[in-house]
């Protein structure tokens, strides 16, 4: 079957607004969802779920959070790691206080704490832009990291200084702690990340999403059209930080099981930023591409070289990963600022008019 829009007419504005207007795209989406909900659970082993799929989805979620702020609203942030940490610590404290409550609910609530902190650290954005704003988010990163280390109440005075995820239930099933199955955790993370994606897609295609992009593209014109920068910027900070906090809580409760403050360091911020840039700023699907690429590349390198009979150490894998990702970041920043998502769109565009070179 060819990838064509011929014969697929849009007869209403509602149809024209559809997220996937082309039938082929809808089939592709259905296939992806089928793989995510049926094929992966049936065929994947615990290692694949715990080491690849779960972190991939959590990183995709975090990258979507950052993309809202940086890709859509145009506010550069280096504090993603710390905002994820706020979500993780909030979830930990909440479940310590309400041990009987559904852990999924608490994880969802914990995002509100990082949203609140995100708003506070977003206030400087009303005055400063670009690199200077990045520096203030960097200050937020260091301040919050300091809090994670210096406020023992946050980790329940554990002598290790780390948070250790207790066993908790959701809907009568063990969802966190060592006894929680990988499959359960996978389904929770999958459901939350997909829900975030759909809800954010809806926000972005409406007037709130437009107000973010207006501020990003030309803040003066946006203001003269009646957008209040205060609302637009702080709402972007709040939504972005909520999602990042949610991702941080998921990271600890449904993936790592325990975390030290260093888990939420500046290197996590950069990792998420690279995912957003590589995948494509201003694209939700790109966030998935970026997360997949950066998370899965080292795994591929680790297994590919031995398979080719080349013996490389763990350290070399890491160095290779850094080099490849670094080179790609530079390439994308210079040649294709809209990242993998844009390459995907160009590929589809070519396919649409294939075999004719011009559409």
């Amino acid at each position: 079957m060819l990838y064509r829009e011929a014969g697929q007419f849009k007869t209403s504005y509602a149809a024209d607004q559809a997220v996937f207007p082309l039938r082929e795209d809808r089939i592709g989406l259905a296939a992806t969802l089928f793989a995510a909900f049926v094929l992966v659970p049936v065929f994947a082993d615990d290692f694949f779920l715990s080491s690849i799929m779960i972190p991939f989805l959590i990183f995709a979620c975090a990258a979507i959070g950052l993309n809202i702020l940086t890709g859509y609203a145009g506010q550069l942030s280096l504090g993603t790691g710390a905002f994820m940490g706020v979500g993780a610590y909030a979830a930990y404290k909440l479940t310590s206080i309400f041990p009987e409550t559904n852990i999924v609910l608490l994880v969802l609530v914990s995002g509100f704490f990082s949203a609140a902190i995100g708003i506070v650290f977003g206030l400087p954005s009303l005055r400063i832009k670009g690199l200077y704003l990045a520096v203030t988010t960097l200050a937020a990163q260091f301040f919050l990291e300091w809090c994670f280390i210096r406020i023992p109440w946050l980790y329940n005075y554990n002598s290790s200084g780390a948070i250790e995820v207790p066993q908790r239930e959701a809907f009568g099933i063990i969802a966190s702690g060592p006894a929680a199955s990988a499959l359960t955790r996978y389904f929770i993370v999958l459901a939350i990340t997909l829900a975030v994606t759909v809800l954010m897609k809806n926000v972005i295609r409406g007037h709130i999403g437009r107000s973010w992009m207006m501020i990003r593209d030309m803040d003066i014109a946006a203001e003269l059209i009646g957008i209040r920068p205060l609302y637009a910027k702080l709402s972007a900070f709040a939504v972005s930080s909520y999602i990042c906090g949610l991702a941080g809580a998921m990271m600890v409760f449904f993936w790592l099981g325990a975390a030290e403050p260093s888990a939420f360091s500046i290197s996590l911020s950069f990792q998420i930023l690279f995912m957003a840039i590589l995948g494509g700023l201003g694209s939700l699907m790109g966030s998935y591409f970026g997360a997949a690429f950066i998370w899965i590349l080292p795994v591929v390198i680790r297994f590919a070289f031995p398979a080719l009979g080349i013996d490389i150490g763990a350290e070399t894998v890491q160095h290779l990963t850094f080099m490849i990702i670094g080179a790609l970041i530079i390439f994308f920043l210079i040649a294709e600022p809209h990242g993998l998502a844009r390459l995907w769109a160009i590929g589809k565009e070519k396919l649409r008019v294939w075999p004719f070179p011009y559409g």
Partner: protein, 277 residues
Amino acid sequence: MRVDAEGGGPGAAPKKGEERITGEVLLSIDDISLSFGGVKAISHVSFDIRKGEIRAIIGPNGAGKTSMLNVINGFYHPQEGTITFKGETRAKMRPYVAASQGIARTFQNVALFKGMSTLDNIMSGRSLKMHRNFFWQMLWFGPAQREEIAHRRRVEEIIDFLEIEHIRKTPVGKLPYGLQKRVELGRALAMEPDLLLLDEPMAGMNLEEKEDMSRFIIDVSDQFGTTIALIEHDMGVVMDLSDRVVVLDYGSKIADGTPDEVRGNQKVIDAYLGVAH
């Protein structure tokens, strides 16, 4: 329609029907002065704009025309003087207040949202009229979608009006300059303003594009009854389109009247026409 450099003659602009101008003052500028550090951009300028008219603001480069528009829509705050809009007098206002009061504008250097399509740029003009909150937006289906479609319908009318159906989905950054200016007009029209400020809408256009733009401006005035303040360098266009002209030079007003009166004014000839031609 041809833009006739002489203006007025038979076959020129479908002459601005005097009946749409009621004589009621929509905006009045009283003794406005604005300076940046030592630079005086506007000094003691007063004039008014009547409901329904096309009011041209002309003058050599650096005369303070753009600054005047910036004062009117609240982007610059004058040190002296007051602005009365729809009967309400203010020393200054925030841009979004001006926008919500019904003042829209286009910019001398196109200020579109480069990362967005033509459609989204014009939809952005509807921002102040769209109110569904965040939670409805997340759900989309239902109230948010209904609101979006209702506004989309209005925006499509504007797209038809400006004859830009073919570039509806094109990112505006990829459009030629003339079309960008047209999209920017569309965005301003989407606000359904009472007062439309146009800052050199035809600068950098070829003759055909200028004729199109002139036609759109006249149609906006005739069909929607929108009051328009127009900054323009092309004297033919000014003489053709405007009901009254105010002339600025070095930040001061040197003439104010009908195109014919202004054209005959010796000060204007010295300051502007003499230099420009």
